[in-house]
């Protein structure tokens, strides 16, 4: 399958390195993680702080905490979040479906839309429509997604009152959830589609100059058969990696948009964990993201090998 020992070793080293970073970075930062557990206007009994520190294992020397941290990774037990007062794993699991519900349609729709329109735009020659559409995509891709999200929120939710102002749901019925999801999915899909469009367009414009296209055309292949049966399959190959990596950053990809639409997904969880110095939660989240990225990388490689006979057969 093309994975040799060095490759595996490299992935393992990468994991080790990243997990160590996850451990070190929060601990290197100023500020006591206990601070936010107490409350702004509380005069503390120092003994209580120490007890809590012991309970959370923060009294131990760093190297012992580090060993325990690896123990937790191996057993996939991230411990408890003292801000959310529950198991980190349960917390993350409860958030995943919501973010998944947001990002899955986005990645799929954005992938299909972007790749199809990108192919057509790259194939067709220069026309005013084509140039206009390309510019539109460039503009969408260049606008920070949160700005786009805010603009949509303002226009459609505040001014026109067509959509709710915040959250994933009110009543929890399917139409209600879809109603909440519509704007964020729209904004993120536009963003992902525009990126895929631009990449695909460039790829197709390269691809269409190749000899095999000339040969196919000279044999009378034309229209959709040519564009999708020949050019697309080649131009889409590099996109596979791109989209697989999107899956890797599934949980952090919508962070800002989740914040704009006040959606309690993984993005907001990351943000709040950072701000409140919630070590166990931070570690849990980074671990999940890193695993996702590694898996997505492997998946990308496998897909690539599957799709490209040159790699598959060798």
């Amino acid at each position: 399958m093309g994975f040799n020992k060095t490759r595996l070793l490299r992935v393992l080293l990468a994991l080790f390195f990243i997990f160590t970073l996850n451990f070190l970075i929060p601990r290197m930062m100023p500020g006591d993680p206990l601070v936010f557990l107490m409350g702004e206007d509380v005069v503390l009994d120092p003994g209580a702080m120490d007890e809590l520190r012991v309970e959370m294992g923060l009294d131990q020397p760093l190297w012992r905490q580090y060993i325990r941290y690896w123990g937790r990774i191996v057993t996939l037990d991230f411990g408890y979040s003292y801000h959310y007062n529950q198991k980190v794993s349960a917390l993350i699991l409860s958030r995943i479906p919501w973010t998944l519900g947001l990002m899955l349609p986005v990645i799929l729709l954005g992938g299909i839309l972007g790749m199809v329109t990108g192919t057509l735009s790259g194939w067709k020659g220069d026309s005013r429509l084509n140039r206009g559409f390309t510019t539109l995509n460039l503009v969408i891709y260049s606008t920070p997604p949160y700005f786009l999200a805010l603009a949509c929120l303002y226009v459609f939710s505040v001014r026109l009152e067509l959509f709710p102002l915040k959250g994933f749901m009110d009543s929890g019925t399917l139409p209600d959830i879809l109603h909440h999801y519509f704007l964020p999915v729209l904004v993120l899909t536009a963003f992902f589609a525009s990126r895929n469009f631009l990449l695909m367009r460039g790829s197709v414009r390269q691809e269409k100059k190749k000899w095999y296209v000339l040969r196919a055309r000279s044999m009378g292949i034309h229209g959709p058969r040519l564009v999708f049966g020949h050019v697309f399959v080649n131009a889409a190959l590099p996109m596979v990696t791109m989209i697989a990596l999107d899956f890797g950053f599934l949980f952090s990809g919508a962070l800002l948009v989740e914040i704009v639409f006040s959606m309690n997904g993984m993005g907001i969880l990351i943000y709040e964990a950072v701000l409140s110095r919630d070590y166990p939660l931070l570690q849990g989240i980074f671990l999940v993201i890193t695993l996702m990225v590694v898996l997505a990388n492997l998946a990308a490689e496998i897909c690539y090998h599957r799709l490209d006979p040159r790699l598959r057969i060798q």
Binding site: Y80, N85, G172, D176
Partner: protein, 519 residues
């Protein structure tokens, strides 16, 4: 996509709003289903878990769950009586043993209440409604402490060994007029309904909903749009500029309440120049209090007095208000030995080093810090702003790594320790928001005396002495006394604010009612 589009067009028609369901928006984030450990939820359970006492609008102690208490001469033995008409929402009556259990249980498990258990010598239950707490030292202000101490049902909690990670619905069993009926943290909604065992005055509301928002702007828009009826933030106000706009719509009543919360400059008294009184007085004269009031609080804030203790606190002493006088400030600085000898606009100290100070504050006070830096720059003090997020701020202030800092007090914070803001300055204390900078024996003496007296007369004279101490020694300069603005939809009337929790006090939810004739 199409389905979503359809959903978008056909907005789910909401049930016509029941007239007596009150929706409150908040930017507090309830993060867990745990009433003892979640800070935000700890405020919201005021409706389901009445405290023993409450503050009335004048700041006086008033009975709530307990109607009466007695203290022994030496302030070590406190006796509380629980009112007869309180019942837990599973039907059992609230008893004295619930109170003693709560003090021990919460004291054991909740770190910020840990001192209570340590100080407790024993508890007694004299009769089903009378509880006695005996402390190891004189405790003069337990009545104030019990305006925020949760009382929980013994029969529910006694079998729960690790309450921090307890998330069952049984913990919602309370004895207030409303109890938590549902909580969806993903949707950000908490629903409270009437407690059927509530025997007190009948509330006019059927349901109370708390909706959580991630930022104030969206909350304001929701308010304007009618998604929610009012908003709440502990010790904080609705944004002033948005309030003006809401008032113009005519659909909202804007209530202004003075709080005992201040925004202030704290000096690092452990090093120069903060340890020089002349410098501190110079700072006080360099500030433009009127502009601060105009820009930071849109004209809503009150200019503070020199005695640090804000108007509205008991035994408030009217002292001369500090005023802007840059000339005087410069004179004071000269007198301290800070002169601009090289003419670059920045003063130097005796060694010829320029007076360059670090002003530490959090993003919350970013704008205020900019203003202060500018005022000080005007009198030749160069200020380097260091604006950090709160965790870093706490770490830096605990290491005294600043010259000046801007922070705030909360109503509860003004009352903690010996009261009158002493908790913020007493060098023997630690805590998230406190500066612990003053170790002057005179100050500590007043604190200890205040902690040891309950006699109103003595208390008054000590409180005044303290305010004069503040005014004379300026360990901090109050910048503005905040005013809390609460917009409420005109569909509801009968609001009742208390100085500690604002509208989120139990009494309020007994008096709020739908306004007649207004839909």
């Amino acid at each position: 996509m199409l389905v979503a589009l359809w959903a978008g067009c056909a907005r789910p028609t909401e049930n016509p709003l029941p007239k007596n369901r009150l929706k409150i928006g908040t930017v507090h984030r309830v993060k867990s289903r745990n009433i003892l450990f979640d800070k935000a939820l700890g405020v919201f359970i005021n409706l389901s878990h009445p405290h023993l006492f409450a503050l009335d609008p004048d700041g006086e102690i008033r009975g709530l769950l307990s109607d009466d208490y007695r203290v022994s001469e030496d302030f070590t033995r406190w006796t509380f009586r629980v009112r007869d008409h309180y019942f837990w929402s599973d039907g059992l009556p609230v008893t004295a043993s619930d109170v003693t259990f709560s003090v021990k249980y919460v004291g054991r498990h909740v770190p910020s209440r840990r001192w209570m258990e340590r100080s407790l010598v024993r508890t007694e239950v004299l009769d089903p409604k009378t509880a006695v707490l005996v402390f190891d030292q004189p405790r003069t202000n337990m009545d104030i402490e019990f305006t925020s101490f949760p009382i929980i049902p013994r029969h529910v909690w006694e079998n729960i060994p690790r309450p921090r990670f307890y998330s069952e619905n049984r913990q919602f069993i309370g004895c207030g007029p409303f109890i938590i009926a549902g909580m969806d943290l993903n949707a950000g909604v908490i629903r409270l309904r009437k407690n059927s065992y509530w025997k007190g005055p009948r509330p006019a509301l059927e349901e109370v909903e708390i909706h959580m928002y991630h930022n104030l702007d969206v909350l304001s828009l929701a308010l304007e749009r009618g998604d929610i009826d009012t908003c709440y933030k502990y010790a904080d106000t609705y944004p002033y500029t948005s309030a003006q706009r809401l008032a113009e719509t005519g659909r909202f009543t804007i209530k202004k309440t003075r709080t005992t919360g201040l925004t202030f400059i704290g000096f690092n008294l452990k090093r120069a120049p903060g340890n020089q009184l002349g410098f501190r007085r110079a700072v006080a004269r360099a500030l433009d209090y009127r502009e601060i009031q105009k820009l930071i609080t849109s004209g809503y804030g009150d200019p503070p007095g020199a005695g640090f203790v804000p108007r509205g606190m008991p035994y408030f002493l009217e002292l001369e208000k500090p005023t802007r006088d840059p000339g005087e400030a410069e004179r004071l600085l000269e007198a301290c030995g800070y002169r601009d000898s090289d003419g670059d606009g920045i003063r130097e100290n005796a060694d010829g080093k320029p007076l360059k100070l670090v002003l530490l504050s959090t993003t919350r006070h970013h704008r205020m810090s900019e203003l202060v830096a500018e005022y000080l720059g005007g009198v030749g003090v160069e200020v380097e702003l260091r604006i950090v997020e709160s965790a870093t701020w706490v770490a830096m202030k605990d290491e005294y790594d600043y010259h000046l800092t801007i922070t705030r007090t909360t109503p509860w914070g003004m009352r903690m320790h010996a009261g009158y803001g002493t908790g913020y300055f007493d060098a023997r204390r630690t805590g998230e928001g406190v500066l612990h900078t003053v170790s002057d024996p005179a100050f500590l003496g007043i604190c200890d005396s205040l902690l040891a007296v309950r006699d109103p007369k003595k208390k008054k004279s000590l409180a005044r002495a303290l305010q004069q101490y503040y005014a004379r020694n300026l360990p901090a300069v109050a910048l503005v006394q905040r005013v809390i603005v609460t917009p409420t939809n005109v569909r509801f009337t009968g609001w009742y604010h208390d100085p500690l929790f604002g509208i989120f006090n139990l009494q309020n939810f007994l008096t709020v009612r739908p306004a007649h004739g207004i839909q």
